[in-house]
């Protein structure tokens, strides 16, 4: 079994009036099956309201399934006695860095998680060192987080999760509020954590360029998984993606347009270098 496995997962948000009577049901996850292997880098795409964040919130038991089952690191998320094991297995990073930082000094912020887990003091400091080094923020350990850039704050937030030694990190649009440099920093950091520390990564994003380094891309629509494959397999289907309110990286779209105009360019171009090589070859 993979580190994350969902079987016929359903989540319904029930809207109630002032008397508490149900007036509407929104099925945010609809019979979803998922199997993610340890060490995978999986990107999740989908339009606003497609169910991505609802799924993410199930992964560390912030939300519970209405029907079906979700296993995280072998624990069924419905079993309340394992809730801390689950939250320690799958750490979450959210969109707004300012909402996730609680301490006035970077190293204390990173130490907050392991401290809450009852980790011995010496071990906490060791983990703080390791995590800050892994995200490239060690030299800022004694800084105040409010003087950092958005990208640096997100890296501190990621270090805070790393310090809890999770098997899996779920990032829900971690770059939506960042400038181009900040976006690159965060993507580089999570790619390195995946490759070097073998942490399973689930990245939810609206930036198509950010998913080209993933092992697997999942596309969600109306609470279901509607496409999955490697980035190249997914981005070859330009029209299909647009149907789901998504897009492809700009260079992929240019390659697609050139191909449609009759140039003999390979399908599913993902990077600037690939396209330059293809055109040079003509």
């Amino acid at each position: 079994m993979g580190i994350i496995k969902a079987k016929k997962l359903v989540h319904e948000y029930i809207r109630r009036d002032e008397e508490g009577n149900a007036v509407g049901i929104n099925r945010a996850l609809d019979d979803l099956d998922l199997d993610i292997q340890k060490g995978d880098f999986v990107a999740i795409l989908g339009h606003n309201g497609s169910g991505k964040s609802t799924l993410a919130k199930h992964l560390n038991a912030i939300l519970m399934p209405t029907e079906g089952t979700l296993w995280v690191n072998g624990y069924d998320t419905k079993e309340e006695e394992h809730i801390w094991d689950i939250r320690q297995s799958a750490g979450m990073v959210f969109q707004n860095p300012d909402n996730q930082i609680i301490s006035t000094i970077v190293e204390e912020d990173v130490g907050f998680g392991p401290e809450n887990l009852g980790v011995p003091t010496e071990e906490i400091w060791r983990r703080v060192d390791e995590s800050l080094r892994a995200v490239g923020m060690l030299e800022y350990r004694s800084h105040s987080p409010n003087k950092l850039s958005g990208g640096q704050k997100q890296r501190v937030a990621i270090a805070g999760i790393m310090a809890m030694k999770p098997k899996c990190i779920v990032l829900d649009e971690p770059t939506a509020m960042l400038d181009p440099d900040g976006r690159k920093e965060v993507i580089r950091t999570i790619t390195e954590l995946n490759k070097q520390e073998n942490v399973t990564i689930l990245l939810i994003t609206h930036y198509m360029e950010e998913v080209i380094g993933a092992d697997k891309v999942i596309v969600m629509d109306q609470g279901k998984i509607v496409m999955q494959g490697t980035p190249r397999e997914i981005f070859t289907q330009v029209e299909e993606l647009k149907k789901y309110r998504l897009d492809v990286p700009q260079v992929t779209e240019l390659a697609y347009e050139l191909r449609k105009s009759g140039l003999a360019i390979a399908e599913g171009i993902l990077s600037v270098d690939e396209l330059v090589n293809e055109i040079t070859r003509l």
Binding site: H47, N48, S50, Q95, D179, S261, I279
Partner: protein, 287 residues
């Protein structure tokens, strides 16, 4: 009609150890009907600059003229300025507060003291301009999707009929189709109503696609003010200040380095496509 900034500087915490110069001697004229893109990394001074344009922040030194009048004059009507220069903040949907969409949108025009008929007219028109249908006007704004909420919030500013519309990252957190819808609607407004638009964005691709002129901020200074292709020609400088050029610009430079004679000025997919096809077809004819 225009906005002119004359030697504008702004400093925080003057005289303390935390003194910071957020704007340094900005000189700039924004002409009536321009579509401007404002880019710069986090902390470069973009937000400080736009908050000066409608008088929310007051410069430490320098003058701002709106249609030739000094906005720092004692008898200048700041309230009037704020209804002429509409500012849509980041995540404007967090500011929705009313019980229905139409009430929320009419809050601005009601505050302007307009008669009820005009309040309704302006509000309905604004909702139409952002593509919110009449079926939604009596809904609670909190029942809408993220993209719809964002558009309702923008309509709230449009309902005041601003001459200048400033949007601080209006597409952050929206899916690609939602992003295109909002930007297309803003472009349409700019074209049809001739309003001046200033778009703050972290997406170089979006800026390249929509705007006439790009302003680049770095460390409180205005480093470039030019048409997109000229600004993005300096892509190496842009990278050194935490920005980038659109992906297609890198493709064009990459091709040029391989000895392919294409114009490296292309900044949008259409421009790049035309340029590459021109080269490819010429090769075929010669061959």
């Amino acid at each position: 009609m225009s906005i002119t900034l004359d030697h504008i500087s702004y400093s925080y915490s003057i005289g303390t150890a935390y003194e910071k110069h957020a704007l340094k001697d900005i000189n700039l004229t924004i002409k009536d009907g321009e579509f401007i893109g404002l880019i710069g990394h986090t902390g470069s001074g973009k937000s400080t600059l736009i908050q000066h344009l409608n008088g929310l922040m007051k410069a430490t030194s320098g003058s701002i003229y709106y249609n030739g009048k000094d906005i720092y004059d004692e008898d200048y009507d700041m309230k009037e300025l704020r209804s002429k220069v509409g500012l849509v903040f980041q995540y404007p949907e967090h500011q929705l507060f009313e019980t229905t969409v139409i009430k929320d949108v009419s809050f601005g025009p009601r505050n302007q003291g307009l008669p009820q008929l005009e309040i309704d007219l302006h509000s309905y028109e604004a909702l139409k301009q952002v593509g919110i249908g009449e079926d939604l006007i009596d809904c609670s704004p909190f029942e809408l999707s993220g993209g719809q909420k964002r558009r309702v919030a923008i309509a709230g500013v449009l309902a005041m009929r601003p001459e200048v519309l400033i949007l601080d990252e209006p597409t952050a957190g929206l899916d690609p189709a939602g992003r295109d819808e909002i930007l297309d609607q803003i472009a349409k407004l700019h074209k049809e109503r001739k309003i001046t638009v200033i778009l703050v964005s972290h997406s170089m691709e979006d800026v390249a696609k929509y705007v006439d002129r790009i302003l680049v901020m770095n460390k409180g200074e205005l480093v470039y003010s030019d048409v997109p292709r000229k600004v993005f020609a300096n892509y190496k400088v842009l990278e050194s200040i935490g920005l980038a050029a659109p992906q297609v610009t890198y493709v064009m430079h990459g091709l040029r380095e391989q000895g392919i004679a294409v114009d490296t000025n292309a900044t949008t997919i259409d421009e790049a496509k035309r340029e590459i096809l021109k080269w490819a077809h010429r090769e075929i004819i010669e061959g």
